[in-house]
């Protein structure tokens, strides 16, 4: 009985996933076609301007751009289901190839940023909650609000100006020096983009942790815990954190795409050869196939993370759990 229900539960989530991905694919396809720009320019470069109408028609036919948009979508979808997303117009390579060459850089930047943000955020949040309304909390809250309001592209430029152009301590762009590529070299190139990613996102999550804990601190069970003689510190760590942790886990899951989106912007400013710069270029050059695959990948990541957050929440919080899941039997009065 319980086994069947678990099956049903995950089956529903799976169905949700497929429906979401299908809707995503349609939106990605049609929006990218609706956006202005000339896809032939990506493929043929400046030669496009010298093409005769006949040559253009031939080129469009060759790339399959002359057919009705619905047919194009069906064909793309058919290929996509087999894992064939076509070739990049700009690089004249299978889009997977193009992405494969860049994905490591983005994972390095985004992954490190993510880990940093998610270890620092609870520390900062707990510290602020502990010091609630005292000088330290107020200072950190104000500094945090300011830091999270600074646009990432601007902060990137300022940091480049100060640390790369001014002090010449750090490189201004790229993922490694030409001819270099050792671990130290890569790390040095990572510092500035990483700083921007962390500064741009950290407070958002730290503040959520802080407020979540303060919400718990005001709960009734805290009064009972204190009235039985537990010190404040123990109540915070044993009781409040335990109640706040599930929502933090699900927050982590939904934040993956958020942090990733931040790295895209940062990558562009720092000319960091990752998926962010690649998406930017592909949108600019109307490199449809590449753009669509990148959008699909980011979109799928968002969907997976949201469903994961949902599952985490429902598994941990007994109040959200559906009736089919096992629940301790209600013990009633004699």
């Amino acid at each position: 009985m319980a086994k069947g229900n678990t099956f049903l539960y995950y089956g529903k989530k799976l169905l949700l996933f497929f429906v979401s991905v299908f809707v995503l694919s349609a939106v990605v396809f049609f929006v990218s076609r609706l956006a202005p720009g000339d896809p032939l320019r990506a493929y043929y470069g400046d030669r496009v301007e010298k093409m005769s109408p006949q040559e253009r028609a031939w080129a469009e036919e060759r790339l399959g751009l002359d057919e009705p948009i619905a047919v194009q979508y069906a064909r793309w979808l058919g290929g996509a289901l087999r894992g064939d997303f076509g070739i990049s117009y700009k690089y004249k390579l299978d889009v997977w190839e193009v992405i494969r060459s860049r994905v490591g850089n983005t994972l390095l930047l985004g992954g490190t940023g993510f880990v940093l943000i998610f270890t620092l955020a609870p520390l900062l949040g707990v510290l602020c909650a502990w010091q609630e309304d005292r000088a330290l909390d107020r200072l950190v809250c104000k500094a945090g609000t300011v830091s999270s309001c600074i646009p990432e592209f601007w902060l990137s430029l300022v940091l480049i100006l100060v640390f790369a152009a001014g002090l010449r301590w750090l490189p201004s762009s790229g993922a490694y020096s030409i001819g270099g590529g050792g671990a130290a070299d890569r790390a040095v190139h990572l510092i500035l983009p990483l700083a921007v990613v962390v500064i741009g996102h950290l407070w958002y999550y730290a503040y959520m942790v802080r407020n979540r804990i303060l919400e718990e601190v005001r709960a009734d069970y805290v009064l009972l815990a204190r009235s039985k003689g537990l010190p404040r510190r123990r109540v915070l760590f044993r009781h409040c954190l335990r109640n706040a942790a599930p929502s933090y886990l699900s927050l982590m899951a939904v934040s993956v795409p958020h942090v990733l989106g931040g790295t895209y912007i940062v990558e562009t400013v720092f000319s960091y050869p990752g998926l962010g710069t690649l998406s930017y270029e592909s949108a600019r050059y109307k490199d449809y196939n590449l753009l669509m695959l990148l959008c699909m990948l980011s979109g799928i990541l968002v969907i997976v993370c949201s469903i994961l957050a949902q599952v985490i929440n429902e598994q941990i919080d007994p109040r959200l759990r559906t009736r089919e899941a096992a629940e301790p039997p209600e013990v009633t009065e004699r």
């Binding site: 009235s227 109640n243 109040r319 009065e333």
Partner: protein, 337 residues
């Protein structure tokens, strides 16, 4: 004999954006060992704040402005947080209004009781701890404790939860138990069980208790003495008999008249007209004057002092002044009647 708890001229205020809220104003009372005092009054008249200020559990925005609290001979108002922490659970502890929210939902009931035990007896072994938890659960009438202590509060009914909260409160053998409307959130049938249990345990362990309630039925069931609070002040205090049979303050009359049992045969329940005043800027004179059918002119000018009725019975109403007109109280029948 020195009293177990002595509160002298206590004033507690909340400092909010809207101004200073005077939640407790110049309250004095005492509690002897093993005695049960009921604090009665409408919502928002400072009953809970009074208890929380004694426990040192006031929210950040509130402060004890003046007065002293002597518990077992020491002045609590002078204690630091560390000392208060040691006193909580051992000298006094508290049962709260809503057992649905006062237990931590993600921690097993047994663990929450064990925490309270360990706070007082840190060196206890695992099995001794489990034994003590089971003993406490049995004390509050939860049978088969061994199999139930590992359940989370979600698996307990409201009455069972309140029993668990009581087990927690009693874990450190406190000398004073505060019960802040312990039955308000429960079913009527469970209410009676919990009250009887509290009274029984209180008698068995000799714990003194302060019952906060707005239910005079509860008072009649458990209290030795009663303090009636209105707008942050104690307006009448006396033994339970005195308050029920010989009430002197018009507010107490109003409360007693509002009892459903005294409204039998009427179409609607009698109520005290109006609302308690806001305590941001309490009115001059008697705060109850504008709701009081028996108000005298002086009530609007000057707050009445505590008039002595008997050695145990005091009331703050100008009606007890020698110059006041004689009024036959609408309720009570005198101690002899």
């Amino acid at each position: 004999m020195p009293e177990l708890l002595e509160v002298n001229h206590l004033s507690v205020s909340f400092f909010t954006g809207g101004g200073e809220v005077q939640a407790v104003r110049d309250v004095s009372f005492s509690l002897g060992a093993g005695e049960v005092l009921a604090v009665v009054g409408e919502s928002g008249c400072g009953k809970s704040v009074l208890c929380r200020s004694i426990m040192g559990l006031l929210p950040r925005t509130a402060r004890i402005k003046s007065g002293s609290i002597l518990a077992a001979g020491r002045d609590i108002t002078a204690c630091g947080e560390r000392e208060l922490c040691r006193l909580r659970g051992s000298l006094f502890s508290m049962v709260f209004q809503d057992p649905m929210t006062s237990l931590n939902p993600v921690m097993s009931v047994g663990a929450q009781i064990a925490e309270a035990v360990r706070a007082r007896q840190p060196g206890l072994s695992r099995s001794a701890l489990r034994g003590r938890v089971a003993e406490l659960m049995e004390l509050v009438g939860i049978d088969r404790p061994e199999e139930r202590m590992d359940l989370c509060p979600a698996g307990f009914s409201g009455g069972m939860r309140q029993r668990s909260v009581m087990a927690i409160a009693l874990a450190g053998n406190p000398r004073i138990l505060f019960a802040d409307e312990p039955t308000t959130a429960l079913d009527v049938t469970i209410q009676a069980q919990i009250l009887d249990l509290l009274r029984e345990i209180q008698g068995k362990l000799g714990t003194a208790a302060v019952f906060v309630t707005h239910d005079l039925g509860v008072v009649a069931r458990v209290a030795d003495r009663v303090a009636v609070m209105y707008a942050g002040r104690i307006v009448e205090t006396g033994t339970a008999e005195e308050i029920f049979y010989d009430p002197r303050h018009p507010y107490t009359w109003g409360l007693l008249q509002a009892l459903p049992a005294l409204n039998r045969g009427r179409d609607s329940l009698r109520a005290i007209p109006g609302m308690p005043p806001t305590l941001i800027d309490p009115p001059r004179g008697d705060a109850f004057a504008c709701r009081n059918a028996f108000a005298l002119a002086i009530d609007y000018e000057q707050a009445p002092p505590m008039f002595r009725v008997t050695d145990t019975h005091y009331a703050a109403t100008w009606l007890l002044d020698e110059r006041a007109p004689r009024i036959t109280p609408p309720v009570g029948g005198g101690l002899d009647g």
